[in-house]
C-alpha cells in the first residue's frame, strides 16, 4: 500500500492531572488522502481538538505514529516541527487570530519572515498583496483588523494560512464567529481551494451544516473514531476534473 498523505497509527494521548492520568485519545487510526476535504466532528471533550493539534504538529501523542507527507512528525524536535508547520501547514482559527493594529498586508506577510527562503521585504509584501487580491481584499491592504468585517478578517486569515503555499490547511471552527451568509462564502472558498488547487483541508467543527461541505466526515467521540463515512462525492470546480 502506498503511503497516504496523512496516516495515524494507533494514536493515544493522555494528560496527567495530579495523580490521575486522563486518556483523551484512546487509539486513533486514520488515513487521509492528498486532496481530500475532511470534517472532524465531535462534541466538546471528545478529543477532536487534541487530534487536530497532533495532526497540526502542535502537540505530541503519548504513543502511536503520525505520518505526514512521508514523515513521522511525532518524533521531530520542536524546531523541526516549527519548520513543518511553516512549510506544509496552514491554520485558520475560529477567532481569526490576526495581529491587532497591524495592516492586513503585514498580517499576511508575517509567516514569510519565518521561512528560510530569504525573501526581501518587498517580495514578501508583494506576495502578500497578491494573495489578498485573490481573496478579494485588494482594496483593503492597509486596513487594520478592527477596520474589517468578520468575513473580511477570516479571509485575511485564510490568505495568511496559504501564503507559504502549504499542501494542507487546518480550519478550527472557521465559521464559528461568522453569520450564515459569510459562513457560506468562506466554506465555498474552501471548496474552491480544494477543488482548484488540490489543497487538503481538515475542518474541525461541531456544526453539521459545515460538515456537509466536506467529502468525508470523521466523528470523534470519547477519544475514538466512531464514524468515518463519505458524505458527499468530491465536489468539482470549474477547472478540476471529476
Amino acid at each position: 500500500m502506498g503511503m497516504e498523505f496523512i496516516e495515524l497509527r494507533d494514536i493515544r494521548k493522555s494528560y496527567v492531572m495530579g495523580d490521575m492520568t486522563v486518556p483523551v485519545l484512546k487509539g486513533v487510526s486514520l488515513t487521509i488522502a492528498s486532496g481530500e476535504m475532511v470534517a472532524l466532528m465531535g462534541s466538546s471533550g471528545s478529543g477532536k481538538s487534541t487530534l487536530m493539534n497532533i495532526l497540526g504538529c502542535l502537540d505530541r501523542p503519548t504513543s502511536g505514529e503520525c505520518w505526514l507527507d512521508g514523515e513521522e512528525v511525532s518524533r521531530l524536535s520542536n524546531d523541526q516541527r516549527a519548520f513543518v508547520r511553516n512549510h506544509k501547514l496552514g491554520f485558520v482559527f475560529q477567532s481569526f487570530n490576526l495581529l491587532p493594529r497591524t495592516s492586513a498586508l503585514d498580517n499576511v506577510a508575517m509567516p514569510l519572515s519565518y521561512t528560510d527562503e530569504g525573501l526581501s521585504e518587498r517580495e514578501a509584501r508583494q506576495r502578500a498583496a497578491e494573495m489578498l487580491s485573490r481573496f478579494g481584499l485588494g482594496d483593503r491592504l492597509h486596513h487594520e483588523p478592527s477596520q474589517l468585517s468578520g468575513g473580511q478578517q477570516q479571509r485575511v486569515a485564510i490568505a495568511r494560512a496559504l501564503i507559504n503555499r502549504p499542501p494542507l490547511l487546518f480550519a478550527d471552527e472557521p465559521t464559528g464567529n461568522l453569520d450564515s451568509k459569510t459562513s457560506e462564502e468562506v466554506l465555498r472558498m474552501f471548496e474552491q481551494l480544494n477543488a482548484q488547487e488540490g489543497i487538503t483541508i481538515i475542518m474541525v467543527t461541531h456544526d453539521l451544516g459545515v460538515a456537509r461541505h466536506a467529502q468525508r466526515t470523521i466523528h470523534v467521540s470519547d477519544g475514538l473514531i466512531v464514524d468515518n463515512a463519505v458524505t458527499a462525492p468530491p465536489t468539482t470546480g470549474p477547472g478540476g476534473g471529476t
Binding site: 502542535l58 491554520f91 491587532p100 519572515s113 519565518y114
Partner: protein, 457 residues
Amino acid sequence: MRIHTTARTALRALARNPMRAMLTTLGIVIGIGAVIAMMEIGAGSSAALQKTIASMGANVLVIRPGTASSGGVSFGSGTTTTLTPEDSAAILKECPAVRNGAPIVRARTQLVYGNRNWVPTYIYGTTPSFLDVQDWPALAEGEPFSERDVLNATKVCLLGRTLVRELFADESPVGKEIRLNNVAFRVVGVLGAKGANMMGLDQDDIVLAPWTTIKYRVTGSSLSSSNQSATSGASGDSVNTLSNIYPGSQPSLYPERSAVQAANNPMPVRFANVDQILVAARSAADVQPALAQITALLRERHHMRPGEPDDFNVRDLTEMTKALSSTTTMMTNLLLAVAMISLVVGGVGIMNIMLVSVTERTREIGLRMAVGAKGGDILRQFLVEAVVLCLVGGAMGILLGHGGSQLVRIFMQWPVATSPVAIAAAVLVSASVGMVFGFYPAWKASRLDPIEALRYE
C-alpha cells in the same frame, strides 16, 4: 529569520503601542540623560578644578642645588653652586614633559622709592617665562620685561601689588624709578594680584627683574666673592662675559695673570649659577615623567657617576597633586554610582513592561509559533524589542543630557565638556541593559506552549 527582519518585526510591534513604548523607555531616557549631563558637567568641573589647582602650582617642579659640605659640616639645601641658566635652557629643550621653565636668582635687600622704603619677601631675578610657569594672572599694568632685557641685563622690573601699595600709594608706578641696593630700576609693569600661597606667604610682595641684572648688578657677588677661580678668566660664554662688563664691587685679591700664565695653567671655567629653577610640567600626569627626565638630564650635564648622589634636588608639590587626583577619582566614582542606580532602575522598568507585554501578547506568540516561528525566533524578537527600546531610550537620553548640560552652561555659567567616551559608553550600556533585562521575558515567551498560548484569553 534574519536580523533586520527581526528588527523590523520588533519595531512594528513597538509601534503598535507607541505610548507604552515611550513610557517604558522613560526610565532609560532619564537614566542615560542623567549620566550624560553629569558626565559633561563633571568633566567640565573637573577640568576647571584641575586648572585652578594647576594655577596653585601643582604642576610646578622646583629644582634646587644640593648641599655643600666641608669637613663634615653640611650647609644645607641650596648651598652648592652647580645649577646654571644653561641647565634651565637644556631642560626646556630636552625634556618633553616640561612645558616651560625659568631660572631664579634671589636677593634680599632694601627697595627705595622717594622717601619710602620696603624689604620685599621676594626679589627674583628670572626670565619672562616665570610668569607662565607660575601661572601668574595677567599684568595689571604695563608689560613684562623681555628676553632681550635678560641678555642685556637691563635695569627694569615688575612690581607685585603689595609693593605698589607700600611704595606708591595711589600713584601708578609704571615708568617710575626705584632703587634696589643703590641700583636704579625702571618699573615697566605691575603684576596681577595672586594672594597668599599655601604656606600663607604673600606672593604679591615681589619684585621681578632679569636674572642677569639681579645677579651682576644687585648682588654682584656671584663670581668674585663666592669663588676663588676664574675671577678674570675670559670664558667664551656670552652670559659669563657679562661679569667682565659689570664687575663685582669687591676688588680682586690676586694680581692679574698674564696671557702666558693663563695658557700654561688654565683655570676651570665657572658658569654663573642660579639659586633655583622652576619648571612647569605639561599636566598633573606629566609631573612624574618630568621629574625623571630632569633628573637624568641634570645628572648627565653635571657629570655624575653612577652611584654618586645628585648635586641637586627636584621637588614636586606632592600634596597638591594627591589632592587633585583624589578629588577627580572621587568625583568619577560618585558619578558612576549614580549612573548605575538609575540604569538598574530603568532596566527593571523595561523588564516589568516586557513581562506584561509577553503575557498580553500570549496569543500572538502562539500564533507566530503555529505559523512556524521557532523558540529562538520568538526569543530574538522580544530581545530585540527590549534592546531597541533601550537604544532609542539611550539616544533620547543622550540628547536630553547634552541639552541639559548646555542649559546649565548657558544659564548657570558652569563649565561643561562634551565627552565622546560617555556617549559611547551610554550606547553600550543601554544596549546591554536591554539584553540583560530583556532576556528573562524573552526566554519566558520562547518557552510558551503554542496550544496553551493560542487558547489563552
